[in-house]
Amino acid sequence: MKRLLALILATALCLSALSGCLTQDTVTTDADGAIVLTIPHYKVGANVGARFFLPQVERFNELYAGVYRVEVMEVPNDMYQDQMRQLAIQNQLPPLVEGVPDEIFLLEYLIPNNRFYDLNQWLDNEPELRALLLDANIEHNTFDGKLLSVTYPVVRPATLYYNETLFQPSKPIGEMSWDELLEELGDNTLAFMTSENAWTTMIALTSMIAVQPGGPELLFNHLPDDNKFVEFTNPIFVNAITQLQRVIQTAGHGNTVGAAYADAANAFFSNNAAMIFNGPWMIGDFNADAADRWSNGFDGANVRSNAMPGNVGLDNPLGYGWWIPANTPPEAAEGAWAFISFMMSANELELYMLAEGGTAPNLDESAEFLAARAENALLHQYMGSINSETIVVPYLWNSAPGSIADIEFGRLLPLLIDGTLTPEEFCQQLETSARETMR
């Protein structure tokens, strides 16, 4: 008896030691019999995308009450893709994933191992939805006839926002060159984010590349995952960096060096910087219901939008969107598709565009949508500033290796700004790092 008890105790000890290895199930059933899909996602909390995404999840849960329910688990923005990589290695991916972490993940894991559901099996039965999607994106997402992912069929170029109380341009900024803009700015400053992935600075830099002959081609040619841009000593890039250095040194806000996104946004939201570069998802921050973020007399009603100098806007037409990992049980995959289909439905697209801007080229916009959009002056103006002449190019970070975008650029940028590195030296160091990465 004593021996048996000791044996049981020892076994229990061993098992308890391994209890931490158990994993949480991302597909369960709730008390109402609905299939619950638990998805980690970054559009939660203070993330700017949460304002639209979380209510959208609620709308889906209401529509599919008793059948499917989506629950969102919070993951920090910059941890999301890394977490998906880790879960993929363990074959524990959630039933819905947005985007792919990197080219290696796509080309060496996802595609060759067929670790995704072919979305065509559902899309072929929904011709209305198929008609809304963008052909170029569908083609980009198709591998051996299988459709990997679906993205919002919305074009919403990132541009710039300026504070009209501080700066009144003599003509639309899209019609100016960077030099003209610098001249007109006078003592006004530009809000730049230079740490982390230097997102807002990258937007300005991309537009400086796009206005040069061969610039748009450079950005588009390196979109494919097996052909990332590493030739940073290319004259087009060196010219753009030279211009960026001058712009930041001349008109960068005082807190530019080391500024995170919050620092750049704060400079703009406090009447300290006259301009910031970002996508239309920022428009919500200028609505009256976001006034708690403003200070020093800032009023979102005074914000205007325009294309970047040279009439440039940034959007990646060839991105990866929502996909369903192959480890998802078939009944949960049906639910996951229902959620994707719901997000891409005409009504949801209109709500999405009202919240975060953009146009859906294949959507017949309803009268209610157009009326609602006209009520939001900034959104209306943003839409008006993008025209058929606008040069829409992908973000530089879509064409560059991940570690250059996430680490190296921001690490070297302070040295470019304070003049320790010349543009040529900066580009050389970036190229060395990029080649090192791609070995």
Partner: protein, 291 residues
Amino acid sequence: MKKLERRNLPWIYLFLLPTILIFALFYCWPIIQVVGTSFTRWNGFSRPAFIGIDNYTRLFNMSSFMVALRNIALWSLIAMTFHVWFGVLVALVFFKQPPGWKIARAAFMVPMVISSAAWAMIYRFIFNNEFGILNNIIRIFNPDFNVNWFFQSPASFWAITFTWLFYAVIISLVVLADLMAIPSEIHEAARIDGAGGWQTLRMIDMPLCRFSIGTSIIMSITSRISMFEAIALTSRGGPGNTTMSLSIILVRGISDRNFGVANATAVVMFVMGIAVLLIINRLFRMNESVY
């Protein structure tokens, strides 16, 4: 071994099994894997391909790696010459039990309850050029003062150093415990023999605390080798390579999916840690009895 003890041996091992299992599974096996894969090209998805010492050659040819080694050497020197001795000094002050020493000890321990990540963020605010308390105090005397501590070279090196320089709580506690363990008779005998405070400190306290000081130096230097949060959450190794460290290179290897390079970096860190352990053990004669 007595018969009774021998009979209990299987049970002893059985109850030790969970610990052995955890140690083997979560310590030994990963270390073996890290060493093994450091000789391979591996992106986490494909099968690791043996490439000999290529990853190590690549590391030693990287300028950032050499800067990281130099930074660690400098930080270790600062840790040995200032950080540890600051902790020892605080322990000596507490040992004398001046008025209010308990409150001071509690205050000194406050940083221990703050995670190193939060600590790094606090320093990010302290050193902020625009609204940081440090620059604003300096500007009282010099209104034109402008230094982006974490983003200017070489200021960022010193800013990073400052995040741990005075954070010597563990050292103080370890040394204080050793000081308190010194039999009071020894101090009394010294006093009777006419030894002054300085002589007691030099001839009795310091030699008798040599284990704890040696341990503190080992802890401090190995912390410098593995230091990550303070750098990753502030300067991220920059500007340029000014605050580069091996842990930053390791994490960059992981994000680039160059697990071979990342693991080679980890092996270098491991070897450095073992070397520090052996050298300090020898220097402080830590395998010899104190009393």
